[in-house]
């Protein structure tokens, strides 16, 4: 009897019921942070008590984009950058469903950046999970809108001259109602944040800093996955409630993480129904401002 047959049968992964196990092994490199985030996403889905039939996962192109293909839920793998507009259509057609967009920084914030800002502005009820590995991993490590100033990529071998986006600040400025950032080390925090985002009505954004040793780390002095994870461990500082503009990601200083925004604002569908049921009243108020002030005074 061979050694292999003597072994205990392989234990089922706790998330097997949510995985398309026939698609495993996955394509992610060893040391990649996407698997951690994917695990956290599945944990959050299970903990949410939302019926699985009511959850859809949408992703774009890239390493993170493969999540939609591995999860055994209604899922859609869109073209590059179009996860959010696809999810917008899905949400509007089936408002009772819980729609999660899971994609990478390049997909969501570069080629799909326009959709990101407008979905946040409209406050479409989506949960957007962004795995930020600071580069385009799948195509071999090119400059992304997240690449830190000075970082080396295959298209910036001398270091990036571009100032990156602060995604959390951008999301908040555009009107997102829930904004949080964690690293792939903060597994429980990530799970909680995704859960909170799923339960939040409106555009919720969870950014997770993930290690990409294969494409990003090896060109930036952090060749092994643990180098990047240790870096995140050492540099991240939790600052809940800090203004997202202050939640900076400075590789030479600190990586600010935490829950930055948790607020209420009518969702797109709320506003849509309001307009279509003619609840916005007489719009706009064109009486002179001094008249308005006088009225307020009288009322007071």
């Amino acid at each position: 009897m061979s050694a292999r047959q003597n072994r205990d049968p392989e234990p089922l992964h706790p998330h097997d019921e949510l995985l398309r196990t026939d698609r495993i092994p996955h394509i992610w490199c060893s040391g990649c942070g996407i698997g951690i985030v994917f695990g956290a996403l599945m944990s959050a889905i299970k903990k949410s008590d939302i019926p699985l039939d009511d959850i859809a996962v949408v992703s774009g192109i890239g390493c993170t984009g493969r999540m939609a293909g591995y999860i055994a839920l209604d899922s859609f793998h869109t073209t590059h950058g179009r996860a959010i507009p696809f999810a917008t259509g899905l949400k509007l057609a089936r408002p009772q469903g819980n729609v999660i967009v899971a994609s990478g920084d390049g997909d969501l914030l570069a080629i799909g950046g326009n959709h990101f800002i407008h979905a946040a502005r409209r406050n479409i009820d989506l949960t957007v999970v962004c795995v930020n590995n600071f580069n385009y991993g799948m195509t071999g490590g090119q400059l992304a809108p997240s690449t830190p100033f000075g970082a080396k990529t295959t298209t910036t071998p001398q270091g990036s001259p571009d100032e990156p986006f602060n995604f959390c600040s951008l999301a908040a400025a555009c009107g997102a109602v829930y904004v949080a950032r964690w690293t792939a080390l903060h597994i429980r925090r990530v799970t909680t944040a995704i859960g909170e985002a799923m339960n939040k009505k409106g555009f919720s954004f969870v950014e997770i800093l993930a290690p990409c040793p294969t494409a990003f780390g090896r060109r930036n002095k952090m060749r092994r996955a643990l180098d990047l994870l240790n870096f995140y461990y050492d540099r991240s500082v939790v600052k809940h409630g800090v203004h997202p503009d202050e939640a900076s990601l400075d590789f030479n200083q600190r990586l600010v993480v935490g829950k930055f925004v948790d607020r209420e604002r009518p969702t797109y569908l709320d506003s849509y129904h309001m307009v279509h049921q003619r609840e916005i009243g007489d719009w706009p108020t064109i009486e002179h401002y001094s008249t308005m002030l006088a009225k307020e005074k009288t009322e007071a």
């Binding site: 192109i61 793998h77 590059h80 080629i111 195509t139 090119q142 295959t154 298209t155 910036t156 071998p157």
Partner: protein
């Protein structure tokens, strides 16, 4: 003779762009084009190429940036594939309309869906009508040579049009081949510095990209069309000049054993070399088979093509893209419409093969020839067949 080096074909493309001494490169990563632009960014970063490399946020931005830099009078290059090329679509029409001689390498790849990164010609066939001059390379040397030729033709003041060099994704882009590298002096002797015919210049202000009302739109399109048609002799002239300078002759239509051929295989792109071997083997077996390789796709070299196939009874066209709803693939449709005008001509059998990188072997080509000859003899309708569909 110039030095032969083992080089990945993508890098040969980049080296040609370096030898052409471009000023601006704007690109967005997409498989299988990435090695071309990655190597260019290295050449720029290492100081071997004095150019601006702009890693933009999408292909739509890449082509827009190219239009901007070309309009400012800079020698401009970009590269893309499949979905990326499709995302450029809107701006692709602008470049020839504004007569901007941008050069682009397209690493041909299937369009989604389903999502595919592998090679066929569905990306470029969707861009057939953009008004760019388009050539197809069959091997690494041709990629290098056609890239240099593209700058020469595009920037010629008798042409001033953008130009695409097509190279098959993976089959060419990711393969290491022996490439004869010309020296900088040789390239400089062939390709003079870019002298834009007109450019955005604060000393001599002009406006570009304005509205063409119905009273002038038709004439503006006609002018662009005339320029494309008139580019044809210039394209040939600069291939002849290339032969004088570098010793390799290229033609809009390349032929192989066509003179006494009853059946002629028509190919475009890298599979032409496989087909050529199949033709040689069929010849050795005593069959009168020849081959025509279309190197220049736009403007289509109609006269040269009809001359090359004048003695053929049967054409076996290999298309590498579908034209859904049409009665054949895009290349065969082109050829049938040409032949129709002659009032006779050979039987045309069309095979859509090698979609998404599926292998097309010598044996496949022989079977296509058998099938086409049988269909011609039986007088079957001239439609197309998707080759090798699994039941």
């Amino acid at each position: 003779m110039a030095k032969r080096v083992g080089l990945e074909v993508s890098l040969a493309c980049s080296e040609a762009v370096k030898l052409a001494n471009v000023d601006v490169i704007a690109a967005y990563p997409i498989t299988p084009q990435t090695h071309i632009v990655e190597h260019l960014s290295e050449l720029v970063a290492d100081g071997h190429l004095d150019a601006e490399f702009v890693p933009v946020e999408s292909e739509h931005s890449a082509m827009s940036a190219c239009v901007g830099s070309s309009a400012a009078g800079a020698r401009t290059f970009t590269s893309s594939s499949a979905q990326g090329l499709a995302l450029m679509h809107e701006i692709l029409f602008i470049a020839p309309a504004l007569r901007l001689p941008i050069v682009m390498a397209v690493a041909n790849r299937s369009l989604s869906g389903p999502i595919s990164i592998w090679n066929d010609h569905s990306d470029i066939m969707a861009e057939r009508d953009i008004g760019w001059i388009q050539t197809f390379a069959e091997n690494g040397q041709e990629v290098m040579d056609l890239t240099l030729h593209a700058f020469k033709v595009a920037e010629d003041h008798r042409v001033t049009l953008p130009m695409i060099v097509n190279l098959d994704g993976f089959i060419l882009t990711h393969v290491i081949e022996p490439i004869e590298m010309p020296s900088q002096e040789e390239v400089d002797a062939y390709l003079p510095p870019f002298e834009p015919q007109q450019k955005l210049d604060i000393a001599n202000p002009i406006s570009m990209g304005l509205v063409g009302v119905p009273e002038v739109y038709t004439e503006a399109r006609k002018a662009m069309l005339d320029a494309l048609e008139k580019s044809y002799p210039v394209i040939k002239e600069h291939w002849d000049g290339f032969a004088q300078q570098f010793g390799r002759q290229y033609n809009p239509i390349e032929t192989h054993h066509v003179d006494d051929a009853d059946t002629v295989l028509v190919t475009m792109g890298s599979l032409g070399e496989t087909a050529m071997t199949a033709v040689d083997e069929m010849r050795a077996a005593g069959r009168k088979v020849g081959q025509v390789r279309i190197r220049l796709w736009r403007p289509f070299p109609s006269g040269d093509f009809l001359d090359a196939i004048s003695g053929a009874k049967t054409l076996v066209v290999m298309d590498r893209a579908l034209s859904p709803g049409a009665d054949s693939g895009p290349v065969a449709t082109e050829i049938k419409s040409l032949i129709y005008a002659t009032g006779g001509g050979p039987y045309v059998a069309d095979f859509v093969a090698g979609l998404s990188g599926r292998d097309v072997t010598r044996e496949d080509f022989k079977q296509m020839v058998d099938k086409a000859e049988a269909a011609a003899a039986a007088g079957d309708p001239m439609t197309f067949e998707m080759w090798g569909v699994k039941e």
